[in-house]
Amino acid sequence: MAQVTLRKVVKKYDEVMAVRGVDLDIADKEFIVLVGPSGCGKSTTLRMIAGLEEISGGDIAIGGDVVNDVPPKDRDIAMVFQNYALYPHMNVYENMSFGLKLKRTPRNEIEQRVKQAAQILDITELLDRKPKQLSGGQRQRVAMGRAIVRDPKVFLFDEPLSNLDAKLRVQMRTEIKKVHQKVRTTTVYVTHDQVEAMTLADRVVVMNAGLIEQVGSPNDLYHLPATKFVAGFIGSPAMNFIPCQLEQAAGALRIRLNDKLSMPVPASRTKRYASFAGKPDLVLGLRPEHISETRPHAEPDQHDFDMPIEVVEPMGMETLVYFTVNNTEICGRVNPDAGSAAGQAMKLRADLSKMHLIDNSTGKVL
């Protein structure tokens, strides 16, 4: 049983609050990813769980025991660092066994555990090499091996893939997922890359400015963001945010973008949004894939409009088109064969059934 619990955890550096009260329950065997922009406090939170940073306030419990004062070595955790932090003078075997040796684990048990971990990670033939002689991906595996060998209650990953090139990163991402499926150890993983977060996590924790914005499964975060920050952070290209008004006219609720452009709110949402009609400072959130080229026959909650296209970015399987509404640059994803061209008007279709209405003053999704 290795749950991790954070209660009102605070970290202060002199006068700066790096973490401003984080509450989080991580279940046994769960893979949790902390994601957020740099400086959001995700790494600090991880390092507090590891015991590398003192906690300024609140409590951290691992497996039910409060570990605030417990030194890192007694927390039964293992950590994988961004720069791997392999001991350069030890070979792979020594690197992986160092922790066990310090704990005076019997030699044959060490050997067995290292061999087993090496097998899981497919690095058996690298055991007597020095870190210098390894590629980036291999070092990454060794760093994970060092963690697995110790069979800890919790794995902590601090941006472990940031130093790898794009191709290897994708490969190692899958590798980490596979390893977790094999060993099923509770894992806390920090990254600034939302794709990594989405692909790896059972649940994603989005952090911003020292606070948790939202906790949820990758799909929940993508489809049901709770705040404008989460909506904008998750997804690439990012969600479009268009200033708008909500009008109540003749019993129908309409989203008005400007004098010329207004669209009816889908029937499924009218009840939810009714009370916000006339509210100032509203923003329409719409993902690029929900703005596409028009199709021959009309569909419910989908609205066509003409737009002069400013920039066209062919991506291969799709084409991104950019245009401006209310001084805001909007991105849409259209079929490569839809005949989009910069400088020309194009008939587009917005799928409002997937819309989000955001109160810009509070940053909350309504």
Binding site: A50, K73, I77, Y87, P88, H89, G99, L102, R146
Partner: protein, 303 residues
């Protein structure tokens, strides 16, 4: 020419340049020429030592071409190495230097680790202070030290004057500050994650130092060791001030004070003695040049 260029379509070349490689070659030749001049300037004294050391005293006093050995002989070397006295100088120097190196490295490596990694109240100030003490020269300290020795004798009865081992106590003042400074710089360049990984692996501070930092910092330790050795081997003022009996002298002082007797200069032997005395640092330098240079440049490029 312009017409021709248009006609053929070839690019025209209004100014004639000398080729790049031509310029390069001449720059290189001049570089080598001046380098040879400087090498001659820098190597003349040691070569002259060697030349003289191979001459018999009769050849020296005959005032033949001083830059040439007509009848090379090893008699100077045999005579010097046959003397008990010179061997004692050599032994004293070796003992002092080795002990100073050991003391220096123990003190400076542990202190540098504490200052670079563990941080305690006043550690930043102390690190700066260490560097400043390195700038306090021996010429400022030898007189108060001289007096302090007298004070120690008067209060405890321990005679520190005129003993070669006293130098073991004094020399670390010259070596420890700089070696600590080098090691602080070296330890600071080791990624923070490495000691965090060790901490998580369950290593104590002492284990982190001995099992991780010292092995990783071996190049820095070699550089600091070489520095400590050369400084102790070459130190001249302290032994000159604090030791007088011939059996307590170290090499530099021994050669200068015993081989020069009044106005009688036995130059063949002096040069032999000096050359042999310069040999240990030169040999170390020949084999470990890169570490030697790393140690030299560390002071200004780190920290």
């Amino acid at each position: 020419m312009a017409n021709a260029a248009i006609a053929t379509g070839a690019p025209s070349r209004p100014v004639k340049y000398r080729s790049m490689s031509h310029n390069r070659r001449w720059a290189m030749r001049w570089s080598y020429f001046f380098l040879i001049l400087f090498v001659v300037f820098f190597l003349t004294p040691p070569l002259y030592m060697l030349i003289t050391s191979l001459k018999s005293s009769s050849e020296i006093s005959a005032a033949t071409n001083p830059w040439w050995v007509y009848k090379p002989t090893l008699s100077n070397y045999e005579e010097l190495l046959g003397q008990n006295q010179y061997l004692i100088f050599f032994r004293n120097s070796a003992l002092v230097s080795v002990c100073v190196v050991i003391i220096t490295m123990v003190i400076s490596v542990t202190a540098a680790f504490a200052l670079a990694r563990m941080k305690f109240w006043g550690s930043a100030t102390l690190a700066t202070g260490v560097f400043l003490t390195y700038l306090v020269p021996d010429t400022l300290l030898f007189i108060p030290l001289f007096k302090m020795f007298a004070f120690v004798r008067d209060t405890t009865g321990i005679e520190l004057m005129n003993h070669w081992w006293t130098l073991i106590i004094i020399y670390p003042t010259l070596t420890v500050p700089f070696c600590t400074w080098i090691m602080i710089g070296y330890f600071a360049s080791i990624p923070k994650e490495l000691d965090e990984a060790a901490l998580i692996d369950g290593a104590s501070w002492m284990q982190t130092l001995t099992k991780i930092f010292i092995p990783v910092a071996i190049p820095g330790i070699i550089a600091a060791t070489i520095f400590a050795f050369t400084v102790s081997w070459a130190q001249f003022l302290y032994p000159l001030a604090f030791t007088t009996s011939t059996d307590q002298l170290v090499l530099p002082v021994g050669i200068v004070t015993t081989l020069i007797k009044g106005d009688v200069f036995n130059w063949g032997q002096i040069m032999t003695g000096a050359l042999l005395g310069a040999a240990p640092p030169l040999i170390i330098y020949a084999f470990l040049m890169d570490y030697y240079i790393a140690g030299l440049t560390a002071g200004a490029t780190k920290g």
